[in-house]
Symmetry: C2
Subunit: 211 residues, 2 copies
């Protein structure tokens, strides 16, 4: 069932899918504030889109919302998570347990979204064997076999930029499907592996260039 929904998600127009993530993010914020229902107009305003767009986007997937009341926050959240194939726990491997890696291990947002870091690797002998937030740091030299043995398909790389290409290569060999990287440079891995790059320096530059 979930995999059918996942297949369906692939045919959603790109713009709609992008907006579904916006709606989901706003709904998560409403949940944190303890808000149970939201009129489509308010959801639209919070996401900076027209309310007719919200209704049209959601109409792809059936009937949501009650006229005059709006959407039920928990219900719509669950529906969107199912539509986007996010309703299962996704196992994640973390490579690099420096300050950034530690921050990610302790970051509640990931688990809230269904991502569970189940393995962490570092090359530093002083870190190997340490337990951080329920995860024991393992020897990076055994990364490929450990990732394959646990059938982990998603990895986060929190390693220095200079090490990123080699680590990405090894993750590709371990049959990882998707990588979140904090290194700004191209990684030259097979095109069937999805990469998302969080480039903090570029984010800062973009933010400040017009101040």
């Amino acid at each position: 069932m979930a995999s059918n929904v996942g297949k369906m998600a692939r045919s959603i127009p790109e713009e709609t899918r992008t907006r579904l993530f916006l709606y989901l993010r706003e709904l998560r914020c409403l949940q944190k504030k303890g808000i149970c229902t939201i009129p489509s107009q308010r959801l639209a305003e919070a996401c900076h889109v027209k309310s007719s767009t919200v209704r049209k986007d959601l109409s792809y997937f059936g009937e949501f919302g009650v006229r005059g009341v709006g959407y039920e926050v928990d219900g719509l959240t669950n529906e969107l998570r199912s539509i986007l194939n996010l309703d299962q726990i996704v196992k994640v491997a973390l490579v690099g347990v420096g300050n950034l890696g530690k921050a990610l291990l302790g970051f509640p947002g990931l688990e809230d979204e269904g991502f569970k870091i189940v393995a962490a690797f570092d090359a530093d002998e002083r870190k190997i064997g340490q337990k951080i937030d329920r995860v024991t740091v393992e020897d990076a030299s055994r990364m490929e076999e450990r990732i394959e043995a646990q059938d982990i398909r998603v990895a986060i790389m929190a390693v220095p930029a200079s090490e990123a290409p080699a680590v990405a290569q090894r993750l590709a060999e371990a049959n990882v499907n998707a990588i979140l990287s904090f290194a700004p440079c191209e990684l030259n891995i097979p095109p069937d592996i999805k990469i998302s790059c969080v480039d903090l320096a570029s984010e800062m530059a973009r933010l400040v260039c017009c101040v």
Copy 2:
């Protein structure tokens, strides 16, 4: 001179400006690899745009590149940094010195791009007074006056999501112009303050939803 260039940057079409950041990022990677020149065709391919687009984008700002040789990496990097008003050191305040904050204090990419964290604040008494990468952690209760005294206009918030709205409010009162936030929710601050939000959970969700 630099401020004139900065003013000019505001009238660059949005799409061109977005691509200038792509070019700059690629050029930085070439610098790290020790590559000195790049043909426009290769720069275009690396950024996934047409080479005629690269040439057109750059032609807004004068003549760059040598026919048959291409662009000189260091020279074009400096020109783009000047065009985007990124050729000055920008002072940054960091709020929150947990693992993420520590990672940011030790992150060479920020300083490479001209951002210097000159002040760091935390509410935890055990952290106040600690020196981390040349910056001494200060008492968050004095944040506003310390930011104003040092004329800091850019801040990074590395605080838990629950604290983010109040911290953002205080940064607004300290006359900060731009905030990089790691909290996913809306911050309700005046619209003249630029905010860039690095939402790691959403990045992960987006990355994985079509795996």
